[in-house]
């Protein structure tokens, strides 16, 4: 399954309203709950926090990729949030994170989960593309950046 298949306007939020790390994680998860992708909000949040305890998923250059595997989701799913002003996500380079990709998968979907995460890793290398996402004004614009519409 390609990453573009997982991205629709209902799983994208521009801009995020949260101003701190726990708030962002809750807000991203709420997007997926509202989209009907999450069965048990609290259990998924716990899985995300558990992963963050091992080390922050805030990477360099304003990108964060929180992720977890849990049986409390319906299938492989992603939420994208953008915060142009940036949020302290305890990133590797200490810079505020602006682009958030929350990815959740069922434990028996490791193959598609890893492929989708690898696609995010590739796109994070493109500064121009990331800047275009950060400057997007709407969810529709974000989806259009991924697709050839």
């Amino acid at each position: 399954m390609a990453l573009v298949d997982l991205i629709s306007e209902e799983v994208v939020k521009v801009p995020l309203s949260s101003t701190d790390k726990p708030g962002v994680l809750r807000e991203l998860l709420q997007i997926l709950k509202d989209a009907g992708m999450v069965d048990d909000y609290d259990r998924v949040l716990e899985a995300i926090y558990k992963r963050e305890e091992l080390g922050s998923t805030g990477l360099e250059e304003g990108i964060a990729v929180p992720h977890a595997k849990t049986d409390a989701v319906k299938s492989l799913t992603i939420a994208i949030g953008i915060s142009p002003q940036g949020i302290d996500f305890h990133s590797l380079d200490g810079k505020p994170s602006q682009l958030f990709f929350l990815m959740l998968a069922l434990p028996n979907q490791s193959g598609p989960h890893i492929e989708a995460l690898a696609e995010i890793a590739k796109l994070s290398k493109s500064r121009a593309f990331c800047n275009a996402l950060i400057n997007a004004k709407s969810a529709k614009e974000v989806v259009a950046l991924f697709r050839e519409d």
């Binding site: 990477l59 990729v65 490791s110 193959g111 696609e119 995010i120 697709r147």
Partner: protein, 154 residues
Amino acid sequence: MVYIDGTEQSITAAQYAVCLARYLDAGLSALYVVNTKALEDLVRARIFLREEEEEYEKDLKEDARRYLNHVKELGQKKGLTVEVKSSMGNVRQEIVKIIKEDEIDLLVVGEISKIRSRRDEFYDETDRAMRSSPCSVLIVKDEDRVWELYESLE
């Protein structure tokens, strides 16, 4: 040879491949590639920690075993022996390598994304394998129809 990646689409492809092999009296093999290249990329990008890489590699090997067993059973139910194999590395390269080594005539894959992207990064491994395959490729679509076809096979 049918490529299995743990998606429902690849299982549908396996059902169709079983039907095809039976109709044509052909041999069928099934391949799962443990995508260690992606795992390495994720560690390099610092999305994964080393312990996650190890954990997910175990998960992928277990997925390979489970899904290939399932395909084997799909064949057995229809009186066909499916030769299963798993390998590790870069998915596209492994598929191409095995097609050449085993002199595969036809690669059968599950449905690929309907959505086109302007960026090459967003094409998945099945899509890349399809484009690089040295042999003909069959893309299987319509899960319901394929299921009927498989079920009706004596």
